[in-house]
Amino acid sequence: MKLARNQLTLNGKTVSFTDGETILTLANRMGVHIPTLCHDPRLDPVGACRMCLVEVTGFNRLVPACTQKATPGMEVITENARITRHRQTLLALYMTDHPQDRNAVEKGAPNQLLDLAEQYQAPLNWGRMLPIRSARDDDRNPYILFNADLCISCARCVRYCAEVERVSAITLANRGASTTVATADNASLLDTSCEMCGGCIDVCPTGAMTEKMPLTRNHKPERELRKVRTTCNYCGVGCQIDLNVDDIANDGRGMVVKITSPPPGTTVNDGNLCVKGRFAYDFIHHPDRLTQPLVCNENGELQPTTWDDALEKAVNGLQAVAKRYGADALGFVSSSRCTVEENYLMQKLARAVFHTNNVHQCAAT
């Protein structure tokens, strides 16, 4: 079979690749799944975890699909007995010092190592080693928790911090089995250049980097929560976020117990979030929320009332002013915090119901 200059065979099928494409990206594009642990499309590939090894004719050893560039005429095999054996061995080694009980460890994000070990039926009886990686249990930062026992030293978090957020607050330290994720002088993240974007949590394949709050509040693990895709309510970037909802909490009203980012490559934020978008959701269920309409009594105090009463007082109040001074004595202030539909209704209320163009949103910038 004659192949064109930009073609190779993937599991026997002829496919075209683009300049500089790796086997992994090509395979993903073709819908062929290759398992990975240290790879992330936002990061430079490093080939550290060896999970993605595939067979390429002409190479004696298996090659990492995440770093190997596609070249013309390559014959790539992504699944066969040899590859499966390799993956089982690798996973069995990873598992020797990794907790095996999903219920005990999967409190934060899903653990992809456990998933793979299950999927490849990796032997779990190759002896147990106690993990000897050091953590920073006393880190008093409010959001990010590092559970060293779950770390597989893939360095995704460290690379994300250096390459995407570019603050290099964390680093790999020590060698061999004691390799861990550390900060300079083991300082709390609060005292480093960390900007609390939480990208380390997002990229971590095992949940070793995880969010503190849901754990300290004893919320359900992520896999038992419902995800609702919506738009962040802070700045004008419009990042897409997934509200993780516990439907039966909060007397059945539902409770947002954490926020995660959609996978990279799917939305405007490419899997990234900032500190506000990822962590600042406490206000949603805050006890200070207003739960009843309030009206001002004769003594100038605000008092709870019914919707009926509040609406009537408000309508009468505005209509009286309009009658006395004309509609242009009314001002309607709309908000960029509200939806497009609500802004539409507010200006329609001013214009069509009260006949004034005195309507503006706060912060028209």
Partner: protein, 561 residues
């Protein structure tokens, strides 16, 4: 964003956020991007990593300057001088795009004449940016094909904010950096749905979709659609409403905003609110303004309702209800419908999708976008949401504007002359005060200060002051100080910072115990009414010595040990 509507015909980012990573030259002006728009900053970091040249023009040394090729540390409020001098160089060295100017623009000669006087040497005197750096930046900008400009409140929050936008538009038009991927003029919106609120007509001069209220044809269209007669006179903008509160404006209906925390010169406004006759507030939380309210409606927040937001890059995206609102709180749209119907209107909207459909019926540029269509794009990789203009159901949406010619027809050059800021330092008030936001809080912080984590990272109001200015006033790092302007004073902690220029101080506006907007000047931009948050004259005096054991880091955060 009237400035851009006037020059280009549409007030929004001309490019997409996803195009930033492919740009070869980025000019970031008046935008503290890594704190105000962290995810856009990530895209810029990605571009720089790829080899793009980043130039930051800002009075403060911000995080982005650490990866910038050049930092133009101009004096606050001198942007027009800087930009006109760049235009001067581009014209003088004939780096202009003759074909684009001839075919797609008008009024170039006026600008050419005006900027002839703005030499880089003189600009150096006024802005403090070296002439050769201005020349270098102008050349690099003009001669790089994929060159994008990014700006935010730093540019528009001046009494001459619209002038700044015009000066930027001129640079874009004379170099033809428009209507191409990664190359254009991009205002980054400060708040989640500012774009959408503008698009939806929450404006005293525009119906939805920027159709003017004083245009008889537009008015006739809406009178027909809504079945009522409409006022032909443009309304008051927010700045005008606030200034005439109590005498002209006698009642307010305020939805989702704490005007007392977010509007300038609040002491004046506070007095004025005592004199109005009726105030209705619709809010998720009590806030500063609530004290003056006659009626307060408890409102749902974004996680409790459906609808759409429109982001800076014109992308219409869904807001989805995930949980029930607390108690009897209702979504803002539900409250508005009930309110209108009690006033005798006959609004019948089963849900936000129907409201949306009514809106787009009269706005061609959104006509192809619907809740259902956004739903369908949701799981197409890289395609979630749809960018306007999108005139028909088969139109894919628009990644970058002006591809088939400037939307206005011809791009309009607008000659602008430098006007000093309304209030400059003098013997009584020797410093220039600018205000802004930080990464860890958001506007009036009613949400973020209820977040314990964010408050550990940044719990207290502060100013940044240059050590030289501080020492002149015997102020030590960490001291408590009084910041005073002609309008009022607040007490905060002083941080030594070399991020601000000497002669300038900077203060975040999130803290209600030290409201920066007690200090700021409420003179509005003549066109948009946006107030001058970025420049006013101030003085600082020491109150008490700071705690010795308090270690303070200037700028981003401080730590107590």
């Amino acid at each position: 964003m009237a400035g851009l509507v006037n020059t280009f015909g549409a007030g929004a980012m001309t490019n997409s956020i996803g195009e930033i990573r492919d740009a070869d030259f980025l000019l970031v002006i008046g935008s503290n991007t890594s704190e105000a728009h962290p995810i856009i900053a990530m895209e810029m970091k990605r571009a720089v990593r790829r080899g793009a040249t980043l130039v930051v023009a800002d009075p403060r040394a911000i995080w982005m300057t650490s990866i910038a090729e050049k930092h133009l540390q101009l004096k606050p409020g001198t942007d027009v001088w800087l930009l006109n001098a760049m235009a001067h160089v581009i014209i003088e060295e004939d780096l202009i795009d003759h074909k684009f100017i001839a075919g797609q623009t008008e009024n170039f000669d006026a600008v050419k004449q005006t900027v002839a006087d703005y030499t880089p040497e003189q600009a150096e005197q006024i802005t403090g940016v070296p002439a050769d750096v201005i020349r270098w930046t102008a050349r690099r900008y003009a001669s790089t094909a994929k060159a994008g400009i990014y700006y935010v409140l730093g540019i528009t929050e001046h009494s001459h904010g619209t002038d700044n936008v015009y000066a930027l538009s001129n640079l874009v038009l004379m170099t033809g950096h428009l209507g191409k991927p990664s190359s254009g003029l991009n205002p980054l919106r400060g708040q989640n749905n500012v774009q959408g609120a503008n698009d939806a007509g929450a404006s005293p001069v525009f119906y939805p979709g920027y159709q003017r209220v004083d245009d008889p044809a537009a008015r006739a269209k809406y009178e027909k659609s809504w079945g009522v007669s409409l006022s032909p006179t443009p309304g008051l903008n927010l700045n005008q409403m606030m200034k005439t509160t109590g005498n002209k404006i006698k009642a307010f209906y305020v939805m989702g905003e704490d005007i007392l925390l977010s509007e300038p010169n609040v002491l004046h406004l506070e007095r004025a609110l005592n004199n109005i006759e009726f105030l209705v507030i619709q809010e998720p939380f009590l806030n500063e303004t609530s004290r003056f309210a006659d009626v307060i409606f408890p409102a749902a927040i974004y996680a409790e309702k459906d609808g759409v937001f429109i982001n800076s890059e014109r992308r219409v995206q869904r807001v989805r209800k995930a949980v029930q609102p607390p108690g009897e709180a209702l979504a803002d749209w539900e409250i508005l419908v009930q309110f209108a119907n009690r006033c005798g209107a006959d609004w019948n909207f089963p849900g936000p999708a129907e409201i949306y459909n009514e809106m787009v019926k009269d706005v061609p540029r959104f006509a192809g976008i619907s809740h259902e269509r956004i739903e369908q794009t949701q799981h197409v990789p890289g395609l979630s949401g749809i960018q306007w203009p999108c005139p028909g159901a088969n139109h894919p949406g628009t990644k970058y504007l002006h591809a088939d010619g400037v939307l206005r027809g011809k791009g309009l050059f607008q000659a602008v002359q430098y006007r000093p800021s309304m209030e400059l330092p003098d013997t009584d008030y020797g410093l220039i005060l600018s205000t802004g936001r930080t990464l860890y809080h958001y506007n009036s912080a009613t949400q973020t200060r209820r977040e314990q984590g964010l408050s550990t990272k940044q719990s207290e109001a502060y100013i940044e002051i240059h050590p030289r200015d501080a020492q002149k006033r015997s102020i030590a790092h960490g001291d408590r100080v009084q910041v005073k302007t002609r309008r009022g004073s607040v007490h905060v902690r002083a941080f030594y910072s070399r991020q601000v220029r000497s002669g300038c101080i900077w203060m975040p506006f999130h803290f209600k115990e030290a409201r920066a907007n007690i200090l700021t000047n409420d003179v509005g931009d003549s066109i948009t009414g946006t107030a001058e948050y970025k420049v006013c004259a101030a003085e600082v005096t020491k109150l008490e010595t700071g705690k010795k054991d308090t270690l303070l880091f200037p700028g981003a955060y401080f730590v107590e040990r």
